[in-house]
Amino acid sequence: MLKSRVTLQFRSDSGREYLYDDATGLIFAWSPARESVLAESLNGNAGAARVHLEADYGQDEVEASVAFVHRALEKYDAFVRAPGPAEPLKSPAPAEIAEYISNNCRQLVLNVTENCNLRCRYCVYSGSYLYHRRHTTRSMTRETAIQSIDWFVELVRPQITRNPRKMFGLSFYGGEPLLGFGVIKDVLSYVQGKYPGLFYSVITTNGTLLTPETAKTLVDHDAGIAVSLDGPPTEHDRRRVDPAGRGSYQRIIRNLNWLRREYPDYWRTKVYSSCVFDWHTDLKAVARFFAENESTIPFPIFVTPVGAANTNYYENAPGDARKRCQETIEELRQEYKAASINGETVNAYLNSSVGMAIMRILIRPRLYDHRPSFLPYTGTCVPGAKVSVGVDGVLDMCERTNGTYPIGNLAQGGINHARVAGLIGEYQEKVISRCGNCPVTRLCDLCFSSTEGDGGVGDPAPGCAAQRARAEQSLADYVSIVERNPTASFILKSDNVLLERRVLFFS
């Protein structure tokens, strides 16, 4: 069977060579001698080349390298992966898709409204994005919302049957979901009465419409809040504005202040910030803002850049804006590394921006983390593993996709498995077919959302190059930290996953 070598060499800051092996997910300390031994072994030439290698590297080093490389080959099946690029992928049958979704679907997103009381300049619904809708006044009815819940529970019934502890994510999204608070309140009450303990709820909100009533409802139902807050007033109000162009910072802070006073425990455990930056953001000032106000501003759990694909958002940006932004990110990356190496407290904003990429190396998928056979590479979800319900009951695979390639409709019985199979076939053809030789498939973030075009999958090529570069950088950063500080503590702040202690067990 044709096999491809799937490894990526990189260096730590100390200059030490390493080899990331995508076949196992392991990182090996590397050297020219180990590389030569591996190359000769894969060529089936190890025995004959030994004398020549010993002349180059010395007997001891070759002996050690042979021991190292052969153990990795024999015990872990490292360095190469089958099938090679010529192996055709099989498209899943609709029945296989149906079974997969029922057994793996984990989250329901309710888009309760397409309206918003703000007009943030970078919003995907602002009109600056090629394939996304604009704001409308459409909202989800109570009936559609309740129907979504009941349909979802039946969809995931096999998981509920198997696992008495199973919980599912229930997210309220928009537009600004608090504009549809009546529906949210009804859904939370309905779920509490009919499906107690089955859902973990969270709402993504701009925070301007939080009132004592809305807050009490969310607290009573233990629903988490992710408030969009980009940083200090100068930064936040530059883009997060109402239709009249007025900033929203003061309103949000006022609401967060009383929320903190009224519900201190809830504040500490259930309220987070979600932050966005663009090329013009003073990232150092934002990082300082979150550090200096950590007792009054929610922990920034998500920090994401405004993307440059399929948008005219940056068309008036100065020519060097992107470069300057990247230079600042580079400085913050070095700052994060230095703090981690020295065992200092890492700034929360740095942790969630530059730190998360490094953290992802630590929590990367390993040998036994198998993906479904029909989507073996990249980080994409299987369409239907999460379901986003639009205001009209149309189903999308994610709240972040552009809405031009839905996967079903509540009114037509839910997920259209043939349609999902078709989308997977399209993704296989345009994206996965390029992955056979890729050395970073376990570290890859590409998904339907990040490769989408109009009506389905677009061109992944630019994303591929960026994924590889990012993986190489993150690997080097991670190893540079743990080389100097093997017990460096990485903060994984998340509402739904936990770092296991076994990763630290042998450190």
Partner: protein
């Protein structure tokens, strides 16, 4: 080549004083003599060999380790990425428990009157789940729930493949047993029935076992009539059980035998093994129970008569990593008592749920049970200072710590990790490993055994 590091799947695990090398993919275990331990610790700290007092001697030792495939020389310090089989994160809210086996004590009634039963009289018990010792909570038959078919369905829905029925003596409730058997067969569950084999005619029991979904686990007392009589106070039990075993063998039906060793058992383990092999042609399992009065006999231990404290190989890397995370005995299982209470296992009295109030599924939805699954050796005082803690799956220490009597651990394990005598000076029973040995700086002192 001034540095040496262990390969990614070999771990130096340290205790209070000792160090042990674990080869995860090779299922090999090496106890380290003191100097060997110190050198490896030095290497794993990424320090150069030239900083050692006698680097040439260390190189000789490390060369042997390289030949054994345990580590490699390197020319520079390096970060070694340890082998993990899966990403070290878990869902906070979406974690899926994996149920391996469910024990269900369907009654608390027995036709024997053993002097150590019910378990309230016990000072020490070991592998109680394999024996037939009754729960202390209710000596009478309660037989909850009233609808056993629904309970079988609930258990099957959890994804488990084995349902283990215990008692008392489940054979005393014949009709109930048969309805459970029918439901289990419908749900494709393997039904294991632990019983002394009394209370029903052997031919009738053999007929029950001719169903391919049923396995009998016959609990016997020692290796002959005298110890059986001493244990349960009745003559003829051993002969009755022998009749049952012979009938099962004649019909070529699969079954198990568990020898319940107690203070009155007048045989050593090898004697019992030999008798079981000669008379029945089988390899029995062992469980033990001693009354509070018998505990004083310090020689009582799980490995009485064998070469040393049993260690346990992991057979596959996932088995090793399971030990790092879980209590290998309690993980994936629970017991339903005759009263419908959920316990971590048949040997523990902690209540983790009440099925009679809300049903099995609701009882399992709380966190109570799952905390027990995580009580591995790291959580047991003494064991957490033992370098062999990942090579030992003895459930007794964790159980005794759980009930507040950690001092009883010494009845089962003579090794004191804080004591003067080192691990490599003790005798260990290590049949489960592909290779086991002591590694010393002096090659002639290294004892490796397949």
């Amino acid at each position: 080549m001034n540095f040496f590091r262990l390969v990614p799947d070999c771990y130096l695990v340290e205790g209070a004083r000792d160090g042990v090398l674990y080869d995860v993919t090779g299922n090999r275990l090496f106890l380290l003599a003191e100097a060997a331990h110190q050198i490896l610790k030095h290497c794993e700290d990424n320090r150069p060999l030239s900083a050692l007092e006698n680097p040439d001697r260390a190189r000789d030792f490390l060369r042997r380790l390289q030949r054994l495939g345990l580590g490699c020389f390197d020319s520079a310090p390096a970060y070694v990425d340890r082998l993990l089989l899966s990403a070290p994160v878990k869902g906070r809210l979406f974690e899926r428990p994996c149920y391996r086996k469910v024990d269900w004590s369907i009654d608390n009634e027995c036709d024997l009157n053993c002097y150590f039963c019910p378990r309230a009289k016990a000072g020490l018990s070991w592998q109680a789940c394999q024996g037939c010792v009754r729960r202390p909570d209710n000596p009478e038959s309660v037989a909850h729930p009233l609808n056993p078919e629904q309970t079988v369905d609930d258990i099957a829905d959890l994804g488990t493949s084995v349902l283990h029925l215990r008692g008392g003596n489940p054979l005393l409730h014949w009709e109930r047993l048969k309805s459970i058997m029918t439901a289990a067969r419908r749900r494709n569950l393997l039904l294991v029935i632990t019983t002394p084999g009394t209370g029903q005619d052997p031919e009738r029991v053999v007929d029950l076992c001719s169903n391919s979904h049923v396995r009998l686990n016959v609990v016997v007392f020692g290796a002959g009539e005298s110890s059986a009589k001493a244990a349960c106070g009745r003559a003829g039990i051993y002969e009755w059980q022998t009749r049952l075993v012979h009938a099962l063998k004649t019909k070529e039906l699969p079954f198990f035998v568990t020898v319940l060793v107690c203070g009155a058992t007048a045989y050593t383990k090898p004697e019992i093994l030999n008798q079981a092999r000669e008379r029945w042609g089988i390899e029995p399992s062992f469980a033990q129970i001693y009354t509070a009065e018998e505990v004083d006999a310090a020689s009582r231990s799980t490995y009485v008569g064998s070469a040393g404290k049993p260690l346990s190989g992991w057979h596959s890397p996932p088995g090793f990593y399971a030990r790092v995370q879980w209590n290998t005995c309690l993980y994936g299982t629970f017991e339903i008592s005759p009263q419908g209470l959920i316990h971590p296992c048949a040997g523990l009295d902690a209540v983790c749920g009440r099925t009679q109030e809300s049903g099995l599924r609701a009882a399992l939805a709380t966190d109570s049970l799952y905390g027990w699954w995580q009580r591995n050796k790291e959580t047991v005082d003494g064991c957490n200072r033992c370098a062999l803690r990942l090579a030992c799956t003895d459930c007794a220490a964790a159980e005794q710590a759980a009930v507040g009597r950690p001092e009883l651990k010494s009845s089962y394990c003579p090794y004191n990790p804080d004591g003067e005598k080192r691990a490599y000076e003790h005798a260990w029973h290590h049949a489960g490993f592909a290779e086991f040995g002591v590694l010393s700086m002096v090659e002639e002192e290294c004892l490796c055994q397949k």
